[in-house]
Symmetry: C2
Subunit: 495 residues, 2 copies
């Protein structure tokens, strides 16, 4: 083979024999960088494998193998008899490489409100560390029957011909949808066909599906004020015109809403246990709401997030149970009745909409696992779920009582509480004009979590309060934590 | 206590003692229906508990208890000394109840194209039944080390102070993000900080986040034609103007795109293994694409969906690895390298965007489970993931070879195939003007799945083909299946 004229010299490169990086990788990396950085120009000849091997003191096989890789990736071209050349047509940078600090394009102007920023930053700080006592909405995870659940999960994973390793049906597991329909009949007096149910990763994905499928940009959505934070942020971001409806002692103030915001496309409500005020919507209001929706061709989004936990009387039927017109989109979740990382929730929709919801569940990214769906179906079928709910209800009632007692007894100079009939949190109304966001921050520094009532509201609120979750804190720890809470509020007031 | 005047008579109601429904429930249900249906009018007096008990032949305690429940739910009001009355103010229906068949409000006009309907209906039929042979993108589930994975899952669920039962960090598990960053360095030559990674439920949720965060309505998105179906449908539904860019033998035709659709906001591409044509984007084209993006302030969405499976040479580095400007949003998934119902994927974004992606992951509905994230991190950390990929690569190469051989040998009158260098599917080009959608339908009836190439395309295609997945079918079954496929195509041609 004729010797071709000498190729480019690789200035400034030598093999580092002290490092653990293999020689192959060192040479390969150096050549790539030289080509991409413009030190080796398109069309330029590389040294022959023999020359380069000698020069660097490495085996010729190594050099050959690096060249072959570069050729296979398009960095270089081999011309028979002539040698190896840097590929033509590569748009490389000619100037020595300077990493310019370019303007980072900002995301488009989606509406993240200041309120949303507050809650997001507080959520972020919570989520990255461990959960601190009194964080709202956290179940008694220490009481969860984990070994039993693990058994159900393993069985679903392994025992059934591996069929749950695939995506599963577009609307979610048929077995789980049957179990949920039975549960809704027993616990919520709802008569729904399992085929009206679409499984989601939780309530939030249900809201995302509703926003994407049912709402056009600019559509008016009546929203409880104060109300569920993440649902509101989501609908705003999806382009809806979310408007605040005040809450009175029967629930949403429909008269106010009807006179201020005509023709809503949807109404978001938590009738069983208003989030966060805890009011149960009266029957009068429920029927009025259903009539309004019927007459105005409006959808009702019923978020039934913690209705399992009622401590006095029988749980009220869901609003959806009264709805003969099929205007109610009913949203349920297992994040609170089981645990958050189970990633399971569901939505009940009219038959005509099931197909759209199932498709959008696929398009927006299926969030629930077919394995978990099957495990949950079996867990419900065997009565484990109801058993767990009953046990939690007893535990939560007790924890609620202890927290209320401690706050009333030791902290009545700073807060006022009333035991809620239902749910997983209570409101501690702040006295002496303490600002709830300040109080929340100071308490978080002292290892006590809460959410300020004001972040649930669309506008400044008249009376500050902290939302305290009582379900995840063992009753034995409550007195000491309340003392600390009281002490911090006292310090705050005296500064 | 003075006897109040007699209350309403409950016409037509009697206790059914043959049914298993408790008497309490029967009475409770009858009264509710009468009130809501208007048979009992607001303000009307109910019979006294004594009267009603006598009349129905049930215990007075039962009647009392039903009345108390109705009062507690707002159906009725108790007036001391006067009796129990149907609540005032209930907006009930006055006419006898007729379930009217009301116009069901249709979802707003979101763009689901005919193409999308085709693929959706074929997906739906697949997902509701069992997976049939040659469905594209299905891993060899029978070869998945399920017992080992179950061990990792159980450990993550149980062993760690139950901390994975909560939501986990907004951007996903730190341990998993570290493992992914190391994997990307080893396998894809990418140097990314674990904090640039946001965990998703899979590639599709990553596209949803990108659409929601990065794209304004009407923004132009260059999209490979033919190209990934669900990603295109999603972006269209989210309001983007998705435009088709033809594929040549080096990848996307940038000249065509630049002259037809100036100033795209984003470019969607599958450079490692074009979906579905299988072309690897050349280095020349990669550099040109990166330069175009830099000069035009455009984002590149790199969908690296099956790059783990390359059967010849070393896998090419990701496009993202060449990107010094941080214009590439890199999307990866475990749906194919592990299994679909694991519900895990990720996106690599520039540091300035991490916070937005983490927040939107929460807002759109967190799809991945903190338990699964931890299990996956440990599975990767212990080298199990790479071991599994290597094993699958061997198996898939063999299955590819057998399928290609059988098709070339037995079915060459109807299809033409070329063994792909990478990925999980091959293209069987149809001869004799057979239409791919017809062929797909006929084969599905015979228990053979495929996807018609035409559903990947924006407009009618010149040459029909079927996309056949070769990874999930055991090599021993392939010859017989190919015979059946050949037979069906032969019949189709002769009709």
């Amino acid at each position: 083979m004729p010797k071709a004229p000498g190729g480019a010299l690789l200035h400034g490169f030598s093999i580092d024999r002290a490092t653990s990086t293999p020689i192959y990788r060192q040479l390969d990396g150096a050549l790539r960088r030289s080509i991409l950085g413009g030190a080796l120009q398109p069309g330029q000849k590389l040294p022959s494998t023999r020359e380069l091997a000698q020069e660097l003191g490495v085996s010729r096989i190594t050099v050959k193998s690096v060249y072959e890789q570069l050729v296979s990736e398009g960095y270089a071209e081999a011309k028979t008899g002539a040698g190896t050349f840097v590929s033509q047509g590569l748009e490389v940078e000619n100037a020595p490489k300077v990493r310019r600090s370019r303007r980072q394009k900002e995301p488009p102007n989606f509406e993240i409100s200041d309120r949303s920023k507050t809650i997001m930053s507080s959520l972020a700080s919570v989520r990255h560390g461990k959960t601190e006592p009194f964080r709202p909405g956290v179940p008694a995870l220490d009481q969860f029957p984990l070994k039993i659940w693990n058994k159900y999960l393993s069985e679903a994973l392994i025992a059934e011909g591996r069929r749950h390793l695939s995506y599963g049906p577009a609307n979610g597991s048929a077995a789980l949808r049957r179990s949920i329909a039975r549960h809704l009949a027993d616990a919520r007096s709802m008569q729904v066909d399992p085929d009206q149910i679409v499984i989601t990763s939780g309530a939030q994905q249900a809201f995302a599906l509703i926003s994407a499928i049912m709402l056009n940009r600019g559509d008016t959505v009546w929203y409880e004020n104060p109300g569920h934070i993440a649902g509101r942020d989501l609908m705003q971001i999806m382009g809806a015109n979310v408007v605040p409806v005040p809450i009175d002692n029967e629930g949403m103030n429909l008269e106010f809403a009807a006179s201020h915001y005509p023709k809503p496309a949807a109404i978001f409500t938590t009738p069983s246990h208003q989030q966060p005020l805890g009011i149960t919507m009266s029957l009068v209001r429920r029927l009025a709401l259903l009539n309004y929706a019927k007459d105005n061709d409006t959808w009702i989004i019923e978020d039934d997030y913690d209705s399992e936990f009622r401590y006095r009387g029988r749980p009220l039927p869901a609003l959806c149970a009264l709805d003969s017109e099929r205007r109610v989109l009913y949203v349920g979740t297992f994040s609170k009745s089981m645990f958050a990382s189970i990633r399971l929730g569901y939505i009940v929709v009219p038959p005509a909409l099931v197909d759209s919801f199932a498709k959008f569940r696929t398009l927006l990214g299926q969030g629930s696992s077919a394995v978990t769906e099957q495990a949950m179906a079996n867990f419900m079928e065997d009565g484990r779920f109801v058993e767990h709910i009953r046990k939690m209800r007893r535990i939560y009632r007790n924890r609620r009582d202890v927290l209320c007692e401690c706050l009333s007894r030791d902290c009545s100079d700073f807060v006022e509480v009333e035991p809620p009939d239902a749910g997983m949190h209570l409101l501690a109304w702040l006295k002496n004009d303490l600002a709830d966001q300040t109080a929340q921050r100071v308490l978080l520094e002292a290892g006590i979590e809460s959410l300020p009532l004001s972040v649930y509201a669309f506008d400044p609120i008249e009376r500050s309060a902290l939302v305290l979750g009582f379900t995840s804190v063992h009753e034995s720890r409550i007195p000491k934590l309340v003392s600390r809470l009281c002490q911090k509020l006292s310090q705050l007031q005296n500064t």
